[in-house]
């Protein structure tokens, strides 16, 4: 008599197969009923208060609503990503969190540079657009000096602004902001600082050729660099990650909101892109005191207002060494560092206790000043 075959492995495999198919079917079902209009970003009420072309200054809150007597906070995000990530969804809204902390918040939307913007350089952004927006906030609030909060590339713009117009700022808050663009050289890590390696592998003439040809650097090129930075995450995004996220409505909407934000990649205005890649990433001129904007050398010694420098130890885009390099480089005697939890983007879209901790850090730091 032959032995009865062990059916356990077959049963296990069948169970796996059924589960896999069930998950794939659930993903298909979710995608069959989800439309782009169902995926909403930046839903917090806000009011346009100043527009220069497609660059817009918003006041956060119900239209017409203004806080009196408070020193407002102007939030500046990067040129290469939309500010909408700062209001990803109500429970993961950095802007909303600041408002919950009782702050009077303004935010700049840098828009989508078109061909007419190709000659805008960092000087135009800082001394032109940003200064105009700061003046509007000062006028609206009746404050001589306001608080500026710059994130990532927006932090660099804010830092340069603080050096050019220190009298207009009361406090400066920087988050995941690169200062020493060569700091990664002494702290090499295969999963971090790909942008640094990528930019330095190009000649200055290559970057000029890229910008002169396209006019502006298309957002897709930035997207490609991010894909190369985390290859497996990119490869697994639309299979493993999407299927996993689809099993839960809230997780799927998180995933889709982030996708929508990532898809909305503004081009990098040509003049600004040349300076960003050549003067900063390749030649590290900011920390060397050699960066020139609008004909003026950026002297970090002129940044004398209190500074709160926020970074994360797990930032794979701006390695922490690039951010921490600010210590001792400015003219301030009031310098504070805060280590937040999360990655480069995660720090802004965090929910729960991370969100609360960051809010309390910012509000209490400002309240003391």
């Amino acid at each position: 008599m032959s032995e009865i075959p062990d059916t356990a492995p077959i049963t296990t495999e069948l169970t796996r197969l059924i589960e896999t198919q069930r998950r794939l079917a659930e993903t298909a079902r979710q995608l069959a009923v989800t439309r782009d209009r169902d995926v909403e970003l930046a839903t917090m009420p806000k009011e346009e208060v100043h527009r220069i072309g497609d660059k817009v200054l918003y006041h956060c809150g119900e239209p017409g609503e203004r806080s009196t007597g408070k020193v407002p906070v102007l939030v500046i995000y990067a040129l290469v990503g939309r500010y909408t990530v700062l209001d990803l969804q109500p429970d993961r809204s950095f802007l909303g969190s600041l408002m919950e902390g009782g702050l009077d918040v303004y935010v700049v939307d840098w828009g989508h540079p078109n061909r007419a913007c190709r000659y805008d350089d960092l000087g135009d952004y800082v001394e032109g657009y940003l200064d105009a927006f700061v003046d509007t906030v000062r006028t609206e609030s009746g404050q001589e000096a306001i608080n500026l909060l710059g994130i990532c590339q927006g932090g660099v713009l804010s830092l340069c602004y603080a050096a050019m117009f220190p009298e207009k700022l009361r406090n400066l808050i920087l988050a995941v902001t690169p200062v020493d663009f060569h700091a990664d050289i002494d702290d090499p890590h295969p999963g971090r600082g790909f942008m640094n390696v990528w930019a330095r592998s190009l000649d200055a003439a290559d970057i000029d050729l890229l910008v002169d040809t396209y006019g502006n650097v298309p957002g897709e090129i930035g997207g490609m660099a991010f894909t190369l930075m985390t290859p497996m995450r990119s490869l697994a995004k639309y299979n493993l990650t999407l299927v996993e996220a689809s099993q839960d409505d809230a997780k799927l909407m998180n995933f889709l909101r982030m996708e929508k934000w990532l898809a909305d990649r503004p081009a990098h205005a040509g003049g600004a892109a040349k300076q960003w890649l050549n003067d900063l990433y390749r030649e590290n001129r900011l920390v060397r005191g050699e960066l020139v904007l609008s004909g003026e050398r950026i002297d970090l010694g002129r940044v004398t207002m209190p500074i709160l420098n926020i970074y994360t130890e797990t930032d794979h885009i701006i390695p922490p060494a690039m951010t921490k390099a600010l210590r001792g480089k400015t003219g301030t005697s009031d310098y504070t560092e805060f280590v937040a939890r999360g990655g480069h983007i995660g720090v802004m879209v965090a929910g729960g206790s991370s969100r609360r901790t960051l809010r309390e850090t910012v509000t209490s730091w400002l309240a003391d000043r």
Partner: protein
């Protein structure tokens, strides 16, 4: 003497002293056309044959572009629209672009092999069974990630990227030049003209900002 015999007529014609001149003329004409066909064969067909050899495709891009121009190129005519000739300008960067693509594909194949080899070695070292699919997938993903990250930061990748960028930009510039010619033909603004306008407006905006700033610093009339 006239005759109605066709054969006789033919023989009479051959005896005509002019016939040798006609023969000579025919010979010269035939020779000239033979030369023309030979030139076409050497100048156009031989380069075309060279292009059919896949072994040459990955080599000197300029050589291939030159061969394509030999096959299809024409001189420039003052009173003909010769877009075909202008299109040929794009050959060199297009060929370089294709070659970079081939070189990149070759590197990707090498890296893929490296990923598989490393994965196998790690799987054996951990003593994992293939049906331990979850753990095996994690190991595979980690191996892919590490290997690709290392490749993306390598000098090989940087070289390919530089070549790709230069070829791509050259190709785009050639295309733009071609489209610009068409735009001019139909009295449409070219990219260069739009850029020039944007630059002038941008310079004016800067000047305006500078003047307004200077004005705000200047003492008012009552202070003077």
């Amino acid at each position: 003497m006239s005759t109605s015999n066709p054969f006789q007529m033919w023989m009479d014609a051959l005896r005509n002293p002019k016939i040798s001149e006609i023969g000579e003329a025919s010979s010269q004409i035939m020779g000239a056309w033979t030369n023309a066909w030979q030139a076409a064969l050497v100048g156009r067909a031989v380069p075309a044959m060279e292009l059919l050899n896949p072994a040459t495709w990955g080599k000197d891009g300029q050589k291939i572009a030159d061969a394509l121009e030999s096959v299809l190129g024409t001189p420039q005519w003052s009173d003909f629209v010769s877009l075909d000739r202008e299109t040929l300008r794009t050959f060199a960067p297009a060929v370089e672009l294709a070659q970079v693509g081939q070189a990149y594909a070759a590197e990707v194949a090498r890296v893929t092999t490296e990923i598989c080899t490393t994965f196998q070695a790690r799987l054996s070292a951990k003593g994992m069974k293939v049906d331990d699919s979850g753990a095996a997938l994690d190991l595979w993903n980690d191996t892919v990630d590490e290997t690709l990250m290392a490749f993306n930061r390598s000098e090989t990748f940087a070289d390919l990227q530089r070549r790709f960028l230069r070829a791509m930009m050259a190709y785009l510039l050639e295309q733009r030049w071609l489209v610009g010619r068409v735009a001019e033909h139909y009295h449409l603004p070219t990219r260069e003209e739009i850029d020039e306008l944007a630059r002038r407006v941008h310079d004016l905006e800067r000047e305006n900002r500078r003047l307004r700033r200077d004005l705000s610093k200047a003492p008012s009339r009552s202070e003077e």
